[in-house]
Symmetry: C6
Subunit: 254 residues, 6 copies
C-alpha cells in the first residue's frame, strides 16, 4: 500500500512515512489549534511538492476567507486553482443566502446549494475525477454536525465517511474537540486520528500534537511540540512534552 | 485586508494591530468582567478617535442604562448620537411592554418591537447605511438565546452571525460565559474570540484577558492582566498572568 | 442618579455608597446565609433611619413567621406597618388553603390569592403607591420558580424582573444558590448580585460576602467576612477572607 | 414562642434549647446515619420525659420493625401506645398487599390504604387530636417521593409540608441524603434542617451532626461528633470535628 | 428475633452474630468482587452446616455455570439438590430461547419462562415451601433491572422486595454497583447492605468489605479486607483498611 | 471444562492457563489499544499452533483492511482461509452500498447484507459448522451499538451474547471503552472482561492490561505492561504497573 506524504515537516516521522493511501484521517483540536492550517498545508504541499492534485471542501467559513488566511504562509491557492491542481467545493451548510449581494472577486469554486450530504458526495466525486485528485480535505465535520438534527448526526456522518472510503483519495477531515474524553463517531470511524492540543504551561500556551490512532501503522505515541511558523505548521518530532509540565486543562479551559 | 483598531490600549498589540475588517469577534466572560464596557469603548473610540461611525444593538438592559453607565468613563454617547456618529437599536427581547409608562428623557434610538431576528437584521442594515457605520456592537447574544426556545437557539444564532458576515462592518458581540469548558455555537462561528476572566488570587480578584482565537492573525496566546480604569479598559500587554498564581476557579465560583 | 443606603453596616462602602436608585439587586446564598435578614434589615433600616417606606413581598413562609424572626434583632415590623412605613404582600405560591383554619393574630397584610405573576405585580404597584414606597424586598424568587412548571420559569422570572425595572423602587430579591457555578436567569437579569457564602474553616463556619456584580458601580471585588449579630448583619469591610484559608466547599457541602 | 425539647442529649444546646413549637424540622443523612433513631427518640423522649404525646407516621418499613429495632435502646413503644402516649399510622406506599397473610402479633396502628397524601394528612389530624399529640415524626419523605411519579414529587411534598405547618405539632421528618450538594424541595421548605454525616477518618467511620439551618434560632454552626449508644443518640456538643481530619467523601462513597 | 449465620468466616462478627431472620440483605459490588460467591456460600453453608435448606434464584447466567464455578470451592450443589437441601429456580430474563438445543446434563431446576415478576415470586413461594427453605439467594437484581423498561424499574424492584419481606426466609440479593455515590432503590428498600470493594493499592488489587447498613443491628463500621480463598470467602474482621492506603478509585476505574 | 489457549504470550498465566471453553470474553480499550490485534492473534494463533479453526466476524472496517493490517505481524490470513482454518463474515452495519464499485482483489468472505442480528447469528452458525471452528472473534460490538437505535441497544446486544453462549465456540469480542467508569451491558453479560489501557507516564504512553473479571477462574488482579511487538502482542506477566507511576488520565484524555 502506498504512503501519502503529510507535507508537514516532522509529522511523517511519527507515522512511518505518511498517511496510508486512501485512508481517512481525522484532525481534531480546539479553536486556534491549527486544524484548518494542517489540512490546507496538506493540499498545497501535495500539489506543489508531490504533484498530487487535491480537492478542498469548505464547510466552515468561505473559500475567500481560507484563501486570504493562506496568504500569511505564502500559499497562493488561486494560482493552484488556475493550474487545475486544486479545486474548491463550497458546501458550508450555514452559507449566506438571504441578502442578494454577490461578493466581488469571488474565488472560482463549485457551490453545493443543497444541505443533502449525497449532493456533496456526488460533487466531490466529480471534482476528484476532473483533476485526478489524490488528496481531499474537508473542513469541517463539526459544521455538518451542527447543521443537522441531533438525531441524524450519526447516520449522516457515517454515511459521509463510508462513502469517502471508496474514493481514490486520501482524505483529511477536521473536527472541533470539546473535550478529550468524549466519544465522537467520526473519531471512531476514521482510520487515523491526530490531536492538536493547546496546553497552558506557566503563562503561555504550548501546542502539542499526538497521534491518537493510525490503523496499520506503528505510530509514535508521545506528545510532541508543534508550531505555526511563517511557512506553516512544523512538528518538532525529536522533542517530547512531559505531562508534569502541563496544566491539567487543555485549551478548552483552565 | 484592513485592520480595525480595538480602541482598547494594549489590545491591538495582542492581535497584530487590530481586528480584521468585517470580521465578527465574540467577547465572552462572566458577570462584571467588562464585556459591555469593551464593546462600548470600541464604538466610542472608533467614533471619537478614528472617525468610524458605529451602531449599538442593545439586547440587554436599556439604552438609557448603557448611556448612564458610560458617563463613568467620560463617554458622552448622546452627543455622538447627535453628531450621527453612533446610532442605537433597542432590540432587547425582554423589554418592558406591560405598563404604558414612557420613560422621560428617552434616548433617541430605534426600537425593534418584534422578536424576529430578521427584523433586527433589517434594522441593522438600515442604520449602518444611514451613518455609513464601520463598527457594530451587539450586547448580548445571551439575551437572544434566553428569549427563544432551546431548540431554536442554534438556528437563530447561526442565522444572525451568517447575515452579519455580509455587512460592511466589523462586529463585536458579547456572550455570557458559564463555564470555560462548554461549547457554544457563537464561539464556533465567530472569526475571533476574546475571553475576559476574573480569577481569584489570594483574597482579591484578578482580571485577565486572553485571545482564544483570531482567524488569519498570529495572535498572542498568553493571559494578560487588564483593568477597568477611569477612562475605560486597559490591557497590560507586557505582563503575563502565571497560572500557578491563580485559583483554579474562575469567577464562576470557587 | 441617586444612591439608596443598604442599611447594612459595612456594605455601603463596598458599592460606592449604596444601591443605584431603581436598580434590582439579587441576594443569593445557601440556607441560613442571611438572605432574608439582609432584605428585612434593608426595609426596616430604610423606614426607620432614612424615612423611606418599603414593601415586603412574602413568597416564602408567612408574614407572621418573618415578623416573629425579626424580633430577635429588635425590629418591630408591626409598628412600622401601623405607621404606614411598611406594607406586606403575602404571595407565597405554596400558602396553605386546605383546612379552613384562620391563624389568630394575623398580621395585617394583603393576600394575593392567585398564582399569576401579573396579579402580584399589580398588587405591588398598588401598595408602592399607597405608602409612596422607595424600597421593595421580595423573598424569594426560588419559591416562585418552584411553584411553576420548569418550562415556564424563564418567562415568568424575566417578566417579573422586567416589570420591576419600571417601578420607582429599589428592589432587593433573594434566591437560593445551589451551586456557585450554575447559571440562573435572575442573576443574569439583575443589575447587581450579592453573594452570601458560608465556608468551612477548621471546624467552624465562616460567613463571607462578595459583590459579584453591580452595574455602573466600581464595586469592591474581595470576599469580606460578615456576621449576624444582635442588631442584624454587619459586614467587616476592612477585613478580607483569603482563599487558602477556606475549605473548597461552600456550605452546600463538603 | 415555645421550645420543644429534642430529647437528644447534647442537641438542645446547639439550637438554643430546642425546636421552635410547630416548626417542621428535616433530619437528613445517608443510610445508617441514625435518622429514624433520632425521630423515635424524639417521640419516646417526649412521651416519657415531657408528657408530650406523639404520632408516628411509618412510610418506610413496618411498625413492627420499628418497634423491634427500638427494643435495643430500651424503648417500649407498645407500652406507650397502650398508655395513649404514642399512636402509629402505617402509611408506607410500598406496603405489601399481594398475598393475604396477616402478620401475627400485629402492633396496634391505623393503616392508611390509599396512596393519596390527603388521606394520610386527614388521618394525621385525627390521631393528633385523639391523643392531643404535640409531637409528630414522619419516616420518611424519601419513600413518599419514590412512590409517586417524578413530575408530581414537588407538588406532593410541598402539599404535605404546607399542611403540616398548620397542625399544632412540632414535626420531625426524615429524608435520605444522596449528595450534600443537591437541592431538595423538602430541605428548602422546612424551617430547620439537621444533617447526620458519616465520615471516614482513617479506617473507621466518624459520625458528625450539623445544624444546616434553623429559622429564627441562632444555631450552632459547627460539626459535632455524635454516637448511637445504648440508650439512643448522644451528641457531643462540646467537641468539634475539624475538617482536615475527615476524608473528603461522606458515607456516600469514597 | 433469631439470627441467621452468614456462613462466611469473619462476617458474623461484624453484624452481631448474623443476619436478622427474614431480613433482606443486599450484596453489592463491582465485577469480580465476589457477590455471587458470597451468596452461594451462604446457601451451601446454610444447608451443610446449619441444616437450613435454601433456594437459589438464577437471574444471571445459568444454573450449570454456577454449579461449575462452585466446584472450585469444593461445593457440590447437585448433591445438595438431590438431598433436597437446595432448589434452583432458573429465572434469567435473558435466557436463551432461539435455537432449540437442549443442554445435556441439565441441572435439575425449575424454569420460569415468563418475564413477569409475579410468576417468579409465585415459584419462589412454591420451592420455599417444598423444602422448607430458610434461606433464599437471588443473583442478581441487576439482570432484572436491565430486562425491563427503565420506567418500570422502580415499581418492579419494589414489588419484588416487598413481597419477599413476607416470606419466611432470610434473603440475600446481589446487585452490580456502578458508582459508590449513586442511589439505587434496592439499597434503599433493603434492611441491610453489604458492599464489596476492590481497591487498587500499589499495583495490586485489595478487596475490602463494609457493612453500609444493617437495620436493628449495631454493626461494624470499618473497611475490612477479605479474600476469595480455596474454600470460599474469608473476611479478616480483625484487620482494617486505612483509607490513606487506597487509591481514590474503586475498581470501577482509575 | 477445557481451557482454550489465548495465543498471547504472557496472557495465559494471568488466567490459569486460558479461556474457559465456550465462554464469551470481552476485550475493551480505547483507540489504538490493540483490541483487534489481540483478537486476530487469538484466531491466527489458534489456527496455526493449536489446530483450532476460527471464524472472524468483521463489523468494523473491511476484511481487506484487517488482512492488510495483519501482514505487519507476519500473519497470512488469506492462506489460512484457503486452508479452511479461518472463515470471514463481513457484517459491518456501515458497509458501503451506494456507489456500485466492486473492490478488486476481494478477500473471500461471506457478506451479510441485512442489519438484522439474527441473520448474522445464523451465518455464524453456518460458518462455524462448516470448518468446525472452535474459536470466534467479533470485531466490534461498538459498531453494532452505533448502527441501531439507542433504545434497541440493550436488547440487541443481549440477544447476540445470549445466542453466542450456545455455540460450541470460545468467543472474543471487542468493544470501545469511553470511560473506565461507565456501565456497559456487554461487560455485564460477558463471562470475562480484559481491559487494555494506554496510560501516560512522563511524555510517553504506557500500555497496560488487566483482567477485570473472568468467571470461574482465580485470575490475576494486577496491571501488567504489554507491548505490540513484531509478531503481535506480548504481555509482560512478571512485571506490574504501579499506580503512582501513571497519570490519572487514561488514553481517553488528560
Amino acid at each position: 500500500m502506498g504512503t501519502v506524504r503529510t507535507a508537514i515537516p516532522g509529522l511523517d516521522e511519527l507515522i512511518e512515512g505518511g498517511y496510508i493511501e486512501n485512508d481517512i484521517i481525522l484532525v481534531t483540536g480546539g479553536p486556534g489549534a491549527g486544524k484548518t492550517t494542517l489540512g490546507i498545508q496538506y493540499l498545497v504541499g501535495g500539489a506543489t511538492n508531490f504533484n498530487e492534485p487535491g480537492v478542498l471542501v469548505v464547510m466552515d467559513g468561505t473559500p475567500e476567507r481560507i484563501i486570504r488566511d493562506s496568504w500569511r504562509f505564502g500559499w497562493d491557492i488561486e494560482k493552484l486553482i488556475s493550474q487545475k491542481k486544486i479545486k474548491i467545493i463550497y458546501a458550508n451548510p450555514f452559507k449566506y443566502t438571504k441578502f442578494t449581494k454577490t461578493p466581488e472577486d469571488r474565488t472560482p469554486c463549485v457551490i453545493v446549494a443543497s444541505k443533502n450530504i449525497a449532493d456533496t458526495l456526488r460533487q466531490i466525486q466529480i471534482e476528484v475525477e476532473e483533476i485526478q485528485a489524490k488528496r481531499l480535505f474537508i473542513d469541517s465535520i463539526t459544521s455538518l454536525k451542527l447543521a443537522v438534527d441531533r438525531t441524524d448526526v450519526r447516520q449522516i456522518v457515517s454515511e459521509l465517511i463510508k462513502n469517502l472510503e471508496y474514493l481514490d483519495c486520501t482524505t483529511l477531515m477536521t473536527s472541533e474537540m470539546h473535550s478529550a474524553q468524549s466519544f465522537s463517531i467520526e473519531e471512531y470511524l476514521s482510520s487515523g486520528v491526530i490531536r492538536l492540543h493547546i496546553f497552558r504551561a506557566g503563562g503561555c500556551r504550548l501546542r502539542a500534537i499526538e497521534i491518537l490512532k493510525m490503523r496499520g501503522v506503528k505510530h509514535d505515541e508521545s506528545l510532541h511540540p508543534y508550531e505555526i511558523q511563517e511557512r506553516g505548521i512544523v512538528v518538532h518530532s525529536t522533542e517530547t512534552v512531559m505531562n508534569d509540565k502541563i496544566s491539567l486543562f487543555d485549551n478548552m479551559g483552565w
